[in-house]
């Protein structure tokens, strides 16, 4: 009986651990991300994350932003983007500058912010993930 209770408790602990690994994005990460967004992204991607039709890609609801594969998103922020890009059936033509001068944590925070703002809901981006992609680009 006692063993069963310990077993159940262990399952509970594991469940809580798993949930916390997935969901909670701290307010400080979102706040830091928003600060970066306002200074680096706002002009083109707009207050509502809607971008500018045909010029600047939208972030809100964009499949590339909320994709499970975060590597492409990290690469775009580090290197910028100068190809005509199709996102969800629409083309965008303005060049995006690279932001490699931002620290890994800053890039992680702003990406976590855009992946969890407006109607977006996706997993956080970590500084380690940014660091790994940055190392590959060098």
């Amino acid at each position: 009986m006692k063993q069963t209770r310990i077993f159940l408790m262990m399952i509970l602990v594991c469940l809580v651990a798993k949930l916390s690994a997935q969901s909670p994005i701290s307010k400080s990460v979102m706040d830091n991300g928003k600060t970066i967004y306002l200074s680096r992204c706002l002009a083109c991607h707009q207050v509502d994350g809607g971008g500018v039709p045909r010029l600047n890609a939208p972030l809100d609801g964009a499949s590339a932003v909320i994709a499970a594969d975060k590597a492409k998103l990290i690469r775009i922020v580090l290197k910028g983007y100068s190809d005509r890009v199709e996102i969800d059936g629409e083309y965008y033509s303005n060049n995006m500058a690279g932001h490699a001068d931002l620290k890994d944590q800053q890039i992680a925070d702003v990406l976590t912010y855009i992946r969890n703002s407006w109607s977006n809901k996706a997993s956080a981006v970590t500084a380690a993930e940014v660091k790994a992609i940055r190392a590959k680009l060098k």
Binding site: R40, A43, G49, G50, A97
Partner: protein
């Protein structure tokens, strides 16, 4: 086999020309009064004016041209069912188009009528189609390619056109850059000296309106230092080309130590220029400051936000407008339907801004610019507003309709296109 294919193509061409040729006689302008929509198509207009929707959802309607018998041609930036030009006709005289056709396998912005020809541009070429006396196309399947090989590097790629009626066509080739930085739109990146973009873009090129397959070597750089012109029109009073320049973006993003966000939202001006051969409007080296009313040295070229340019090579604008509103069409009004004050003045369609964030966006209206003796008086006013459908546009995507093209109908009505929802508006004067 080859012969039967060409026969088949000929038959197809014939049937399409018939499609465009039919109902020629019924396009005459009805004499009865055309009633505006009850809500004036959602527009706010001066007293005495009304508006209706000629057509809706035609595609990304950029520029528009109308024949002397009232057939409307609209250029689409993106193909709809493989076609890039829409033809609209009102056959029953109620002002709304019930006949619709489409042709042309290229997307683009420019379209204009000169004499018996309809000219239209892709983002790297200019074509023309012969018109019948009734305003139909003689052969919609095979246009003559007038100009080819123009630079298209996506940014500012649209090739707007205007004709002088004397055998010349003027083509805008927009700069594939914001401010000719070594790294486009990169914070702190300095300007290239001299700016290499200007060799093949950032100006207006002049070509023969009749010769086939011309490219840079056959034409002439008519005016330079123009970042991007979408709206342009030939002024018949002055015999002169007038253009509207889209001013540069992102002063704050690129040089935050020199420009705060509010300054960025208000500068630089959107500008109108009266061009002569050899005109230089100064991009990327200078911009026009609407507050200081001076040409200011760009930060990429050593400016500090206040330093006035003394270079005599650079021309002053004919009139300046608030920043970032994106003037996409210019039309000199020569009709008699509107009250006298409008005659020979200019209408400007402002597509609406994106570069004012975090402040609310502006534009999304058609302005009127009074002229006296071939020059702007210095005043301007909002003529038609309400396209956006919302009181405040916080993000550009929130605007429902965006004015992009202007044309004058044979009865003096003003037509406005919208490249967001594809609405074609007709504005009329009903007052006495």
């Amino acid at each position: 086999m080859r012969k039967s294919i060409s026969l088949c193509l000929m038959a197809l061409g014939l049937s399409i020309s018939q499609l465009f040729a039919h109902s020629g006689d019924s396009t005459k302008i009805a004499s009865k009064a055309i009633l505006p929509d009850a809500d004036n198509a959602g527009l706010k207009l001066p007293a005495g004016f009304g508006a209706l929707k000629v057509a809706d959802s035609v595609g990304r309607a950029r520029h528009i041209a109308i024949t002397d018998k009232g057939t409307i041609y609209v250029k689409l930036s993106r193909l709809v069912n493989g076609k890039g030009i829409v033809m609209l006709r009102d056959n029953d005289g109620d002002g709304r188009a019930e006949e619709k056709g489409s042709f042309g396998d290229f997307g683009g912005t420019g379209i204009a009528i000169s004499g018996k020809w309809l000219y239209a541009s892709s983002d790297q070429e200019v074509f023309r189609y012969a018109l019948t006396p009734e305003g139909s196309l003689v052969n919609p399947m095979s246009p003559q390619k007038i100009v080819t090989g123009l630079i298209n590097r996506r940014q500012h790629e649209s090739k707007s056109i205007a004709l002088d009626g004397k055998g010349n066509i003027y083509v805008n080739i927009g700069a594939f850059s914001n401010s000719c930085q070594e790294k486009d739109r990169q914070k702190g990146s300095m300007g290239m000296m001299p700016c290499p973009v200007l060799d093949s873009a950032g100006g207006i090129w002049k070509f023969d309106a009749e010769k086939s397959d011309q490219t840079y070597g056959d034409g002439k750089r008519f005016a330079t230092g123009l970042r991007n012109v979408v709206g342009l029109d030939w002024n018949k009073q002055n015999n002169q080309l007038f253009v509207m320049q889209h001013g540069r973006d992102q002063l704050h993003d690129l040089f935050p130590d020199l420009y705060d966000q509010k300054t960025n939202a208000e500068k630089p001006a959107e500008t109108m220029y009266a061009l002569k051969e050899g005109s230089n409007a100064g991009w990327p080296y200078v911009y026009f400051d609407p507050e200081l009313k001076q040409k200011i040295v760009a930060p990429e070229y050593g400016g500090d936000g206040k330093k006035v340019s003394t270079d005599p090579a650079f021309q002053d604008p004919a009139i300046a407008f608030p920043a970032h509103m994106a003037p996409n069409a210019l039309l000199f009004y020569t009709g008699n339907q509107f009250p006298a004050k409008y005659k020979n003045g200019a209408f400007v369609a402002f597509h609406g801004s994106w570069n004012r964030a975090p402040l609310p966006q502006e534009g999304y209206f058609v302005a009127f610019v009074p002229f006296e003796n071939g020059k702007p008086t210095g005043q301007w006013e909002i003529f038609a507003n309400g396209f956006a459908g919302v009181e405040v546009v916080t993000g550009t995507k929130g605007a429902q309709h965006r004015p992009c093209g202007l044309a004058q109908g044979p009865d003096g009505s003003l037509y406005v296109t919208d490249d967001s929802k594809g609405t074609i508006y007709r504005i009329m004067y009903n007052g006495k």
